[in-house]
Symmetry: C2
Subunit: 297 residues, 2 copies
DNA sequence: AACAACACTTAAGATTTTCTAATGTCATGA
DNA sequence: TCATGACATTAGAAAATCTTAAGTGTTGTT
């Protein structure tokens, strides 16, 4: 950590190297080309070695320069991230979360009290919303989405692996023989989302039954009413295991036939990259990850 | 990358934070404490937020400061590594390697030509040496050692996982029935190093034979003469698989009984941390890792 | 309560670093 | 040969950074 060269000269070096031209670097730094030339010379004198080859027509990084660049590049990236983390964090004591409807009501609302208690200074706001609109329009800090994690231009971090399971209320199961035939005769509360449909197809082929043998009672893309109907003993339904974890633990719902379909569609935290450096987001991510990881089911 | 705060102020901030004191930081930076105070103020103004709490007896980092520190710490570490890589690389066109005797003669010497051809500017020197003396005394760039990778004060990087196998020349095997009894009746060329001894004990217990049933013909801690004797058909020997890989491939030695003892003792590259940032070391590490990884045995 | 000790802040001016402007060098291509 | 483009060099201007010296607030001592 001692005897570092002038830090400014390193910054100039980075620009010069990235542009392969002193002149271009000078323009981007809003200084004259002479200033760049001097800073590079200064750095080279300090390190006692050349960093650019100037012998022929074009100035190019030489071997030593190429070795140095990745270190300097990373260092300045780190600094920029740090600055983003503390300086450009808007309303550091407000946390605006947008999540799909089901996650908000089944996971976040029931559990958020623990987080709120650990972070009393934070004012937490939810925007239940199934569409992932532009972060700029929405003015939210972080989104929770179900999907494959491919959100162009945004950083996404997988929260947990998920599977689709078949659940029903113990109420409805008591009234029927619990063999395959009785179960598929129960009304199906059907989620028409593509990943759930995939699971239903898999279920049918696994147990060698025809899709037409299942009789659908309710069709929607929103898990919340499906789960509520299932709780009320209205039928069986295929749902994300994470969303019903709490109901399984309490016994209000049970996993029927121990069927599970591993789906690549799962929960992701999604936001522009620099949001993840904010203090409030780091706290929220840590809390949510722990919550889902410690889930004993 | 735009609009970074003055880099000097970040450096001062780092010192102040690490010492929890402006005065201590000032001393380490060889400036007055007033200068530190001003730099910190400058940074705080630039970021438009406080980084230290000054209200009570001691100046301490506050939440924002604690969030920023790891970024700045890492950034300056990166810079220091980069500087070490290019500036303090002594004799960049000489590569001095110290390795244990067996590695030098069985692995390095036979293969080094490929490396030399890719890096004609490098003058390569070997110091076969089984003792790991201080790097300062020895004046070598890098060491290759067999062990567990615990070299206090030095960075060590595992090259490959190893196992101890039982080998013999096809010459000697032709002349005997290849059953267990015939094999253990062959003379044992015995490596008395502790990891090999462990393998021999494991071998005996695996095949339920008494240690005394093996008759030792040669005892040494150096694998080279053992392997040479084995090649000449003088007996069987337990050796590191890596060291005889070439002989196994060519058929000069064969793996007897397909016995293998997974040992935690294996090859490590060892050097002071900053050596690993030198261009010549990075090239050598890359080449050696590839060589061992691509080893088809 | 008065006072010294300590750590940090602030302001003014000195010092050092970094910049610009002007000019020089060298290679390239019309 | 001459114009052009990219970088180097220099002197002096501008800016950033430092020191000195005085000020603030807290702590501990007498």
């Amino acid at each position: 950590m001692k005897n570092l060269p002038p830090l400014k000269s390193l910054q100039v070096f980075l620009y010069a190297a990235q542009n392969n031209s002193f002149k271009a670097a000078a323009e981007k730094l809003f200084v004259t080309q002479a200033a760049v030339s001097q800073q590079i010379r200064l750095l080279e004198e300090n390190l006692k070695c050349q960093l650019f080859d100037r012998d022929s027509k074009q100035t190019r990084l030489n071997a030593k320069g190429k070795l140095l660049i990745p270190y300097i590049e990373q260092a300045f990236e780190q600094i920029a991230h740090g600055i983003n983390a503390v300086a450009f964090e808007p309303s550091a004591n407000e946390l605006r979360i947008t999540a799909i409807h089901s996650v908000t009501s089944l996971l976040l609302i029931p559990q958020i009290n623990n987080f709120q208690m650990d972070n009393p200074e934070l004012s937490i706001q939810f925007s239940p919303n199934n569409k992932l609109e532009s972060f700029k329009e929405l003015d939210v800090d972080i989104a929770i989405r179900r999907g494959l994690g491919d959100y162009p231009g945004l950083e996404s971090r997988k929260l947990i692996d998920d599977s689709i399971i078949l659940v029903a209320s113990p109420l409805i199961l008591q009234g029927c023989l619990q063999d395959m035939q009785s179960i598929i005769n129960l009304p199906l509360l059907e989620d028409t989302s593509s990943d759930i449909q995939e699971a239903i197809d898999d279920f049918c082929s696994t147990y060698k039954i025809k899709r037409s043998e299942l009789t659908s009672k309710l069709k929607t893309t929103d898990s919340v009413p499906l789960i509520q109907n299932a709780l009320a003993g209205q039928g069986i339904t295929f749902v994300s295991k994470i969303l019903v974890a709490e109901h399984l633990r309490s016994g209000n719902l049970v996993n029927v036939l121990d069927y599970a379909f591993e789906t690549p569609n799962t929960l992701y935290l999604v936001a522009p990259e620099h949001h993840f450096h904010w203090g409030k987001i780091q706290k929220f991510e840590k809390w949510l990850t722990n919550l889902l990881k410690s889930d004993p089911l």
